[in-house]
């Protein structure tokens, strides 16, 4: 239950939203969309690792 992963995800989220504002100011809408998608993909990969660890632990505890 290390808080670092949470701060990392929150940091990526905040960074993405800030960069989006900057890109929107600069008039580059499509880059902003690409940036949002890449942010979601990165965070999704991190979350999937956590979920996989959760499912393995549950499988071992509950004997699935």
């Amino acid at each position: 239950m290390d808080i670092n992963v949470i701060f990392r995800i929150a940091g990526i989220g905040i960074l993405i939203s800030v960069l989006n504002m900057v890109l929107k100011q600069a008039g580059k809408e499509e880059q902003a969309q690409m940036l949002t998608l890449s942010g979601v993909v990165i965070v999704l990969l991190m979350v999937i690792q956590l979920i996989q660890r959760l499912f393995d632990d549950i499988r071992s505890v509950f004997g699935f």
Binding site: M1, D2, I3, V5, I6, F7, I9, A10, I12, G13, I14, I16, S17, N20, T36, G39, V40, V43, L44, M46, V47, L50, I51, R53, L54, D57, I58, V61, F62, G63, F64
Partner: protein, 127 residues
């Protein structure tokens, strides 16, 4: 991982979620999933200890072991169904949450069938 660390952890996550949810709601959902997953992992230790105590008691009461493993598996499904349904509700997808709960109920029911069949046999044999 005492209770206080879970509480503190969740308060921090709640604040971070509030910050992120305004601009990037999808990131907030991902963060909620990650936090919920981590807390569930850390709670698993305590659930495992409780289950061990139940197993010891059941062995003393000479309950048949396949019923016990069935019950433990049902508790696992309930544990996960609650996890998934709550995350879908947080994301605003109450429909998905209902589907997850329905699936959980169906799997639990399908696992409970042999127990009910065994019970019926015992009752019929008695009369």
């Amino acid at each position: 991982m005492g209770f206080f660390s879970v509480l503190g952890f969740m308060l921090i996550v709640a604040v971070l979620l509030l910050i992120i949810r305004k601009e990037r709601p999808e990131m907030a959902v991902l963060l909620a999933i990650a936090a919920a997953g981590m807390v569930m992992v850390s709670l698993l230790k305590y659930v495992a200890d409780i289950l061990l105590v139940f197993e010891a008691m059941a062995r003393k009461a000479s309950v048949r072991t396949e019923y016990l493993t069935l019950i433990i598996r049902i508790v696992g499904i309930a544990y996960l169904a609650g996890f998934g349904a709550q995350i879908c509700k947080d994301a605003g997808e109450t429909g998905m949450a209902a589907k997850i709960e329905l699936a959980g109920k169906i799997f639990i029911l399908s696992m409970g069938i042999p127990v009910m069949a065994g019970l019926l046999d015992v009752i019929l044999k008695a009369f």
